[in-house]
């Protein structure tokens, strides 16, 4: 793999993803869950990643924080992260790619990469009930996240050791010696503050409660508190409102926006809900079958969609009550992403109302605006639809 070909990250991007591919190696075959995905996350912005379930959004999110579990693996691409300290530390290191203030996370040693979870990146997940350990108090779990940050500050070196400064012997000692534990009194107090900041009433009492004593909305607030514990640069929110009631959804989204404004964080917001994107995001990536098929500023992509898939998604929002929309818009299903069945073509061709002969080749990522901000992976970005070139009906057979 050659890094020479990749362009250098823009100076104002906190995170710049280039050609990221993640594959799952299963018994049924290789699954291309994320296929050469590129996007920028800029300072103080909310970037939306939108797509149907199975489009690779969540795997993209996990790839950013290096949490893709076996049998999955990141196979190509760069994730440029702006961090002057890290860049300084690894400049001149042969195996680590550094460009200006940015380092390529994929070339960092795994232990360093791991130490960035919490202080640099944190995540919010879809289902708060299953994302908290049911048998440990919410306060204790948030205090753990605070403690990670506290210990990283106090002793950055040990955070990068194999055990992150906390091996089995420490754990066993904590079990035996009374009063000894991973979390400290200070971190528990900080957990109370955090709960208060995310709008949980009576935080002093609630820190000692278990997840099943919380409502879904309250628990999602607690998860946001937990994600803020490390004061991260980047917050990745994977479908943060999907499991919640509509009224609660709005509260959580408002909370996220307030936090982003107050703390100057950058947020990657992953959702299948276009209304959420329209409400929250500055820029948006539309994903389909593991690829980003269209990206750009919110107004450009939503106001003047180029890719027929994006057009289809937007067309599916019922006008009077946009907030309740759910994506089930276009005939057919997202393909299974098995490598053996994918081939080099536009993956949307077999569901596309404007498919042409040239769609049987892989489309390039083409800028559709003068500033190059708005791009689409579609031949229609280069030339208009020509009915004479339409694919024969047989091509669409069997996909209904």
């Amino acid at each position: 793999m050659s890094y020479e070909q990749t362009s250098r990250p823009a100076a104002d991007s906190v995170l710049s993803v280039e050609g990221l591919s993640t594959r799952f190696f299963t018994e049924e075959g290789q699954i291309n869950a994320v296929e050469s995905v590129s996007f920028d996350l800029r300072e103080d912005e909310i970037l939306g990643i939108v797509g149907e379930s199975g489009s690779g959004k969540s795997v993209t999110a996990l790839s950013l924080v290096d949490l893709v579990g076996s049998p999955g693996r990141i196979t190509a691409g760069s994730v440029w992260y702006r961090n002057p300290d890290l860049a300084e530390e690894f400049r001149g290191n042969d195996s680590v790619e550094v460009s200006g203030d940015h380092v390529d996370l994929r070339t960092l040693p795994p232990r360093v990469r791991r130490s960035l979870r919490g202080p640099s990146f944190s995540m919010i997940f879809q289902d708060p009930m299953s994302s908290f350990n049911p048998s440990i108090t919410v306060g204790e779990q948030i205090a753990e996240a605070v403690e990670v940050q506290r210990r990283a500050r106090a002793n950055p070196r040990s955070t990068r050791s194999r055990t992150q400064g906390y091996g089995l012997s420490n754990y066993l000692l904590d079990g035996i010696v009374p009063g000894r534990s991973y979390t400290s009194k200070a971190s528990t107090e900080r957990a109370v503050e955090l709960l208060e900041q995310v709008g949980i009433p009576d935080p002093e009492e609630r820190v000692d409660e278990y997840p099943n004593q919380f409502s879904g909305g309250m628990l999602q607030r607690a998860m946001i508190a937990q994600a803020l514990a490390g004061e991260p640069d980047v917050l990745i929110a994977d479908e943060p409102t999907t499991a919640l009631d509509v009224t609660i959804q709005a509260q959580i989204l408002n909370l996220l926006r307030d936090i982003q404004r107050d703390r100057g964080m950058s947020i990657v917001l992953i959702t299948h809900d276009l209304a959420v994107v329209a409400e929250m995001c500055d820029r948006v990536c539309v994903m389909y079958a593991g690829e980003v098929v269209e990206r750009g500023p919110l107004e450009a992509v939503f106001g003047d969609p180029v890719h027929p898939y994006t057009q289809g998604l937007l067309g599916s929002i019922p006008e009077p009550d946009a907030a309740k929309s759910r994506l089930e818009p276009i005939a057919g299903n997202v393909p299974g992403l098995l490598d053996s069945e994918m081939g080099d073509r536009c993956y949307f061709a077999d569901r596309c109302p404007k498919a042409m002969q040239s769609c049987l080749e892989k489309p390039a990522d083409v800028p559709t605006s003068a500033d190059g901000e708005h791009t689409a992976k579609c031949v229609l970005a280069e030339r208009p639809y020509d009915p004479d070139e339409a694919l024969p009906d047989e091509y669409f057979g069997g996909n209904e």
Binding site: M123, D127, N133, E144, G165, G167, Y182, N212
Partner: protein, 330 residues
């Protein structure tokens, strides 16, 4: 519900089960073929003796009086009299309890101490040689009759190599404890104890070791796939905490339930292990009593076994509630 109240309710429930155990054992008098007196009197007893025993036991009284008498006697610690051995049952039975407890506790400690780490290693190194080895071991372990395993160990380690004793309980754990302060040298007492206890406790413990390894492995794999594990890793906490504080703890919750249920298998296993190693515990007493048709001793042993099962299960449930607070707070 508070933790204390949970323990209290659970204990009351246990008392009910113990009462059921006693009632079942009382009823055993009547499932023997023929006159219940046959079950108590020695086979060669004269008609006179038989009548005397019947009168003393109150067998001529109405059933509810007999039952009441039985319950009352048990409460004051009287389990009846073995006419065949000419001894009080209570003394006979409780003299055997320490040996069985020593065997069962040693086997359980060894099994738990070895199996949980093995299950954890197996789960965290899935599909590596150590995992295959552990899987094979646990499969063989749950499929091997423990009495045969005992005999094979006697054959190889006692008869062939002479490392351990083939049978008996010449030195008990009490001797080891006393030797710490007493005149006997500690090391040689300990070695002597190990020569007796090792083989029976391995024979008895292997099934449990295999079972717990299996349960820990599959439970841990199950837990490792849950969303909270990814969430914990995402917040950056050390893998030690993810594995042990979060995953292993949740894995052990169902393992403990199964262990409680399998306690009967442990005691049943102790019976046959004792038979193989001539271990002077409750198990050998049960077998001897049946062969001698000494029903009062059999009944006494059954009550002690059933009651200890219930008591240990109350303990297990208490540990369970401590580990999984939802049990209490739900």
């Amino acid at each position: 519900m508070s933790f204390g109240r949970f323990v209290f309710t659970r204990s009351l429930q246990g008392l009910g089960v113990i009462w059921g155990v006693i009632t079942v054992v009382f009823a055993l008098r009547f499932v023997t073929p023929g006159d219940p007196i046959n079950a108590v009197a020695p086979l060669d007893a004269t008609q006179e003796t038989r009548r005397a025993i019947a009168a003393e036991l109150g067998l001529d009284q109405p059933l509810y009086i007999q039952y009441g008498q039985y319950l009352f006697d048990l409460m004051v610690g009287d389990m009846g009299f073995s006419y065949i051995r000419g001894q009080e049952v209570t003394g006979l039975v409780f003299a055997r309890v320490p040996a069985t407890v020593e065997l069962a506790v040693t086997a359980t400690i060894v099994a738990i101490a070895l199996s949980i780490p093995l299950g954890v290693i197996s789960a965290t190194r899935r599909n590596e040689p150590v995992d295959y080895g552990a899987t094979l071991f646990s499969l063989a372990g749950i499929s091997t009759p423990n009495f045969w395993l005992g005999i094979m160990m006697i054959l190889i380690l006692a008869v062939e190599f002479g490392i351990f004793h083939t049978s008996g309980r010449g030195t008990d754990f009490g001797d080891v404890v006393i030797s710490v302060v007493g005149p006997e040298p500690f090391i040689s007492t300990l070695a002597s104890w190990l020569k007796y206890i090792t083989l029976p406790s391995i024979a008895l413990g292997t099934y449990f070791m295999a079972l717990i390894t299996r349960l820990t492995r599959s439970g841990m794999l199950d837990e490792l796939g849950k969303a909270y594990v990814t969430a914990s890793r995402a917040k950056g906490i050390p893998e030690t905490l993810v594995r042990y504080k979060h995953v292993l703890r949740n894995t052990l919750i169902p393992v403990i339930t199964v262990l409680g249920l399998q306690l009967g298998t442990l005691i049943g296993g102790a019976v046959i292990t004792e038979a193989v190693f001539s271990w002077p515990g409750l198990g050998t007493l049960v077998i001897q009593s049946i062969n001698l048709r000494d029903w009062p001793v059999l009944q006494g042993s059954l009550i002690v076994i059933g009651t200890s099962f219930v008591l240990v299960n109350i303990l297990v449930d208490t540990v369970y509630a401590y580990l999984d607070p939802q049990v209490v707070y739900d």
